[in-house]
Amino acid sequence: MTDAPAPAPASADAQPPLHRRLGLTDGELGEIEKILERAPAPAELGMYSVMWSEHCSYKSSRAHLGRLPSEGEHVILGPGENAGVVDIGDGLAVVLRIESHNHPSFVEPYQGAATGVGGIIRDILTMGARPIASFDSLRFGRPQGPDARKQRWLARGVVSGISGYGNAVGVPTLGGEIFFDDCYSGNPLVNVMCLGIMPVEQLQLSAAEGVGNLVFLLGAATGRDGIGGVSVLASAGFTEADEEKRPNVQVGDPFAEKRVIEACLELYAQGLTVAVQDLGGAGLSCASSETAAQADLGMRINLDTVILREADMTPVEIFTSESQERMLVVTRPEDRDKVVEICAKWEVPLMEVGEVTAGDRLVGFHQGTVVCDVPAASLADGISYDRPLCRPARLDETERMDPTADLPPLAPQDTSEALLALMGSPNLADASWAWRQYDHQLFLNTVQGPGLDAALLRVKGTEKGLAVSLDGVGRYGRLNPHRGAALAVAEACRNVAVLGARPLAVVDCLNFGNPENPEIMWEFSASVDGIAEACLALDVPVVGGNVSFYNETAGQSIDPTPIVGVVGLLDSLQKRPTGMGFVASGDEIFVVGDTLPDLGASEWAAHVHAYTGGDAPTLDLAHEARLVDFLCALAATDLARSVHDVSLGGVAAALVQSALAGDAGVEVDPAAWAPHLTLSAALFSETSGRAVLSVLPEQAAELDALARVHAVPLHRVGTVTGGQVLGASLTDLAAAVACDL
């Protein structure tokens, strides 16, 4: 046992006490003193403040996350480690995770997004896999109106940060989505999902087993960047004066990360690693305490061995720095030389920073003195709050609204004008200005890249394919948090099924406001239940996720925005998938799934009439499950000439998108697929569980038979012909969706 480190000195009169400045409450300080049976030293206080932050400890959300279904026959590892791991057969596993980098991206969009990409890549790498694809879900304020300049600056900066880091680090960006709504004006969302693949036996765990084993830090030098990022940036709302938080954003170095990836993969391949943990939020505090706690052991860390960017960094700065591109690796002493050799080959700096010890204490030394001596698990386990819940009062108002009565009727002669107005929404715009900046082809796996319903990768060495989609509409959550979350799961599953892939696993990124507000906590709890309900109905487990709270600026919270990522597995990828574009004149068009009058949360209502009210779109989960089966069965045939999910903008937008993709117009009759609805509802309703597809006329009967087998309603819509959709020319529609921010 070592001498206890000296306690933190009392603060000067003018300043609040140190623990509050670090974001800890008085009650939390009391807890720490109880654990340590003494007053904490400054470094200890700093370490608890980051480890017990909302970002690291999930202290508000943990009580709820257990309700998510996380088990399934293919699940190797569910939530709890750095990423979920799912068996896809042939001795291979897929590793996946999603994480937010919302707050850093608002403060500094390029570096915020760049380091978000870098961080999630290291999570995948930590599990033993090569990261092979990433996906981004982005939310900004509308790029028109009074705040347009700022919102465009944010969107451009985030996209170029993803491009600049992702391309150079050598992990292709295969897809994602961008959505604009004024609720994100003061708090954009940058959620990044990453996928890795590995032989099952290469799985790495984070338990630092084996007393006497060596602890290495490898990768970049440790600097003052990002100190307190998790407690200051990610765990508090914004005020007007947030320019001063800029130094808390880390700066990315993709060249360093690229070398770290290659070095780690070679260490794994040679079996040299006992435990691996990346350094992300809370830096070395987190990596050392978590690896020790996972093994129920202790760890000794000598801070003097850490390569620093600035010589005079204090112990707490070294322990909590969030400098990027660093990994903690535990190895056996006899493997030291091999580890040194591999890191030298890849020119990755390597530091032997400590060793695994008996007992349960994390002990840090700096210049010969003990600067921290705490139970590792007390840092790693964090704390948990059961926060109060209260149904948001606004729901009483929105539920009373009646979109059918409130929204103006659409006269047939105004259809083309309405359609062009709808397609001018930034949420239906062509996003190729963004994804053309992303390398989406590296590794030669990309069968279908960005801009379509889902991305599709082949799995080399097998006949398999993986489809990936990210979805989540905050506006649905505003009206109905529970169903909004369930709708995100349903849409993501439908999108992978469009390519014939069976939904295999879900990751979720739960973006919400301030959890200390009972109404926000209620939204969160309801959303968790919505995801759970949909995942059970669609038989797909949640294998990982991330919670981002405090998404508010000046008290204005974002809509509840759960972003759901689904990976689907295609057993036999023999041919390229059916596209979403119409193919030839004369093909018959169908909508599968019923259309109900769901206009209150629609893009048409929001964009054309500045209206959102009533309820989120109807969701029939039993139908969704049947639709997934139908779409998978359909993809196994040669029946469909085109197939495309119906979502934002309803059947009308789906028809436009298929028409533009195939450069072929349509003749359709809204009364045919929605005879009892108004024209606007038939065209723009966003009822869940639908897809638009086309077949050769002589195969319509066969399609009908397949739909009957799967008990999904099929409605004939019209015919592929000419150069118009609902009276609007393809040229005008192309101009409406054209976009370059």
């Binding site: 090569r130 170029s160 491009s163 600049g164 391309n167 150079a168 680090v169 050598g170 170095d253 993709p254 060249f255 690229k258 070398r259 993969l265 070679e266 080959k345 890849w346 020119e347 994804w435 053309r436 900046q437 992303y438 390398d439 989406h440 082809q441 590296l442 590794f443 030669l444 990309t446 069968v447 082949r458 990828l573 041919k575 390229r576």
Partner: protein, 252 residues
């Protein structure tokens, strides 16, 4: 066998070896500190990526990597040496090819298909194509705008060193049209060679267009050209026997 040097920060090395194998060839990864190419090397393919992070100027640091000495020597011997994307930038910085690659005209990174017109078949990149062929191949770069002084451009053209130009799907060339020449290269030049035709570089990625399942196969004749040129290369006198190959340990 084609040597594929792995400069730190490149990322297309595995794809390059994969594409060579798809065409019946073989590629071997070579560490950037190797002072000689592996024995049996008949050609070199410097792959794409971000050598040394491209933090200074694409290719500017990479030209000093030890393996570049060996590659320069082999190029002088007449060995086919191909640089793709970042590899092209490295060859220009190393003075093995003329011209320079600067930031794209639109100042943005571009990952998209382009069309290329074959201008001459007299090179290690185009010997298995026909002049006038139009190939659909993706580009993936932020600094791909080929520029050179007018006199240099005239020289390149006069000696048949312009191998490929960006064009329309019908093979029409107009350097002013951004849709056809998206990075704004001088005279829409996408690929060039040295005077002898054995050192070749292009910005588009032929290795990304060799398989039907990935949606494009027009890179095949370009890869086949390199393999064909390598197969007839015999002047290996300068190759050292004590070659340092990374062998297969670099493979996934």
């Amino acid at each position: 066998m084609i040597a594929v040097p792995v400069l730190p920060g490149v990322n297309c090395e595995h794809d390059t070896v994969w594409a060579l194998q798809e065409l019946g060839g073989a590629g071997v990864l070579v560490h950037h500190r190797a002072e000689a190419l592996p024995s049996g090397t008949q050609g070199v393919w410097i792959p794409g990526g971000f050598a040394y992070g491209d933090y200074l100027r694409a290719g500017a640091i990479a030209r000093f990597a030890p393996v570049m000495q060996a590659i320069s020597a082999a190029a002088g011997e007449g060995m086919p040496v191909l640089g793709v994307c970042n590899g092209f930038q490295v060859l220009c910085e190393a003075g093995l090819l003329e011209g320079a690659l600067t930031r794209n005209q639109g100042l943005r990174f571009l990952c998209q298909d382009v069309f290329l017109r074959v201008e001459t078949t007299a090179s290690a990149l185009t010997c298995c194509t026909e002049a006038g062929d139009v190939l659909r191949v993706p580009v993936n770069h932020g600094e791909g705008r080929f520029v050179a002084e007018k006199a240099t451009l005239d020289e390149l053209e006069a000696h048949g060193q312009v191998l490929l130009r960006y064009c329309s799907s019908d093979g029409e060339v107009d350097a002013e049209k951004e849709a056809w020449n998206p990075n704004g290269s001088d005279r829409a030049i996408a690929g060039v060679s040295n005077r002898a035709g054995n050192v070749v570089g292009l910005m588009p990625h032929p290795e990304r267009a060799v398989e039907e399942i990935l949606g494009a196969q027009d890179g095949r004749p370009l890869v086949r050209s390199l393999l064909e040129a390598a197969s007839v290369f015999v002047g290996a006198a300068l190759l050292l026997p004590a070659a340092q190959s990374e062998g297969s340990s670099l493979h996934d």
